[in-house]
């Protein structure tokens, strides 16, 4: 019954490494999102995509990039990981339109530690 799948639950990387976080949804949703969650700061939007190959910056895009080559897949890329990017990363998806479009379905999260 899993609908939003994040490929890695736990990752440990070194400063300067390139990091890929993958997210796949099987609900045919148009919109996909990447958030990071930190204690005391809540969920903050990094990037979102409303269609294949389309992307919009969220509140904290610096140091991140994204890729959406297929409707079901949305990748978050850290070109050169830094210690301040240690966090829980959450992927979510939603439909476009009224009503159900408001509801985000989240993945289980990817906890990244950068040493």
């Amino acid at each position: 019954d899993v609908k939003v799948t994040q490929s890695s639950r736990y990752l440990v990387k070194r400063t300067g490494e390139k990091v890929f976080l993958e997210c796949v949804q099987d609900m045919d949703h148009e919109n996909m999102f990447w958030y990071r969650q930190d204690p005391g700061l809540g969920l903050r939007l990094i990037y979102f995509s409303y269609d294949v190959k389309m992307k919009e910056k969220g509140d904290i895009p610096e140091g991140y990039s994204v890729s959406r080559e297929k409707k079901e897949r949305f990748s978050l890329i850290l070109e050169s990981a830094s210690t301040n990017q240690t966090s829980m990363y959450l992927c979510a998806s939603s439909k476009t339109g009224g009503g159900a479009a408001n509801v985000l379905t989240f993945g289980a999260g990817s906890r990244l530690t950068v040493l």
């Binding site: 903050r44 979102f48 408001n102 509801v103």
Partner: protein, 111 residues
């Protein structure tokens, strides 16, 4: 800029002790207010959507209400399995598909 503030940050209750969580918000035009539940190590799980002042939604021991400035999540006779972090988020008419989240309230219910 949209703002969402949740209080308290943490709440400890005894089993059966009813209480309320608060979510205060500032938006230019509310398109929806959402409550999510998040268990440790998991992603948030959708609970309710409220669209207009006066609206109420219920699910088991949870009841969400909405005014023009805040929302409450009332928990009646909570059980230990209700322990989780509860997140509130708003969607603004001017923000497209983006939600603004509050910091959450961590609820602990002791048996």
């Amino acid at each position: 800029e949209d703002q969402v503030t949740q209080s308290p940050e943490a709440l400890r209750l005894q089993e059966g002790e009813s209480s309320s969580l608060n979510c205060s918000y500032t938006v230019s035009g509310l398109r929806g207010l959402f409550w999510y539940r998040q268990d440790p190590g998991k992603g948030p799980e959708f609970l309710f959507t409220l669209y207009s002042a006066g609206e109420e939604k219920e699910k088991e021991r949870l009841k969400a209400t909405l005014t023009k400035k805040e929302s409450f999540l009332h928990i009646t006779a909570p059980k230990p399995e209700d322990s989780a972090t509860y997140l509130c988020a708003v969607r603004d008419y001017n923000a497209g598909n983006m939600l603004t989240f509050g910091g959450g309230t961590r609820l602990m219910v002791k048996p």
